[in-house]
Symmetry: C2
């Protein structure tokens, strides 16, 4: 990249960070916890949210901002499961969501009547790591069939996320996957990260995930 490219990029990032701080402060004022879900394509973000909405929909007031490159597929899947607002964001080819998109999506959500906002980011383990959306925390999903080495191959994302979910544990008997090695890789890049093992398909481990969510509610959110 040329110096000029880098300069322009830095300005765009600085503007995003500023907007993200505004989003964060707005969420805090309403006591809303926002979690930014990031992963590879097909790691199971939407299925995890489907289960979460079905299981916690009566207990918590949950809204979703579902980002996608081109389609509304994820938003449509989730809308079927909740009377809470699901806001679809189409990035139009961009490899990540940005704080402006989240800010606009939040305009349509009654934050006074919301406990938790899930931001379902674009399926991508690289770009979303650099974009602050004003969330309380990034949650990174990776799934058993992707292999053990994702944390070391995409270290920035795994360092940025406060919590990692290893999903599709139901496939452990069917693929070569060394769980101890995966955990060692994870600890190598982020020793303090919360780790939760789930199968969003069978429901295994979801109670631990729900307990984690409850622990995050109304959190005074650090940057």
């Amino acid at each position: 990249m040329t110096i000029r490219t880098i300069e322009v990029r830095e300005k765009v990032m600085a503007r995003n960070d500023e907007l993200a701080m505004q989003v964060r402060s707005r969420l805090r004022d309403h006591g809303v916890t926002a979690l930014n879900l990031v992963s590879s394509p097909g790691a199971g973000k939407t299925t995890l949210l489907e289960r979460t909405l079905a299981d916690l929909g009566d207990e918590l007031r949950i809204a979703v901002v579902a980002g996608d490159v081109q389609t509304h597929n994820d938003a449509s899947r989730l809308e079927a499961l909740t009377d809470r607002l699901v806001q679809a964001v189409v990035t139009g080819g961009a490899c990540h969501m940005d704080a402006r998109q989240v800010s606009t999506a939040l305009d349509a959500i009654d934050l006074e009547r919301t406990d938790l906002v899930f931001i379902e980011n674009v399926g991508n383990l690289v770009c979303p790591a650099s974009w602050d959306l004003g969330e309380a925390e990034k949650i990174v999903l990776f799934s058993v069939p992707e292999g053990e080495d994702k944390p070391v191959k995409y270290p920035r994302m795994f360092r940025e996320a406060g919590c990692a979910i290893l999903n599709k544990t139901d496939l452990l008997p069917h693929v070569p996957f060394d769980l101890d090695r995966a955990i060692a890789y994870l600890r190598e890049v982020n020793p303090d990260q919360h780790l939760i093992l789930t199968s969003a398909l069978t429901g295994d481990g979801l109670e631990v995930w729900y307990a984690y969510l409850r622990s995050k509610l109304g959190a005074a959110v650090a940057e």
Copy 2:
């Protein structure tokens, strides 16, 4: 994005396209076929290349340019299997490889003694779609556990690729995956794309993949 951001981006892309044309012409001069492998993280690009090097290494002179965001993991896995040159490219955080990186990597490869160059791109279904690397063709892998909808969710990548490989077919009995629906999605975005079903783990379908590779050798390459 502001107008200035778009202008700078267009200049960077134009410069890349120019370099890609130089790479393409250089490869053609030496009768080398280059294939650009793209996929989600963990779809099986490296495992497919491991098998391909092991099975075709005596028949074809294959070199690999393996790109990764931060590590040399993939290059190291492949180096163990071939005495052919494996060139590691680390993008240093970038979400895709570019033509300059490929051009530099090719400097170290004896193209006169090479039939086929695999470029293993960064695991990402968004960014690599926009970056021409001078390849003869993009090959997109997607894998059964990722779900059927990848083609419609990442349409640009599936439109850009001349061939799609649906990998990890060994997992079909263990996950909810509707093969007819996946093929219908694929046809929706790219009716003419070559489709190959493989399990790089068990070896199923690899003979079809190898026949496809043979059909591409020494191809006079269109843009």
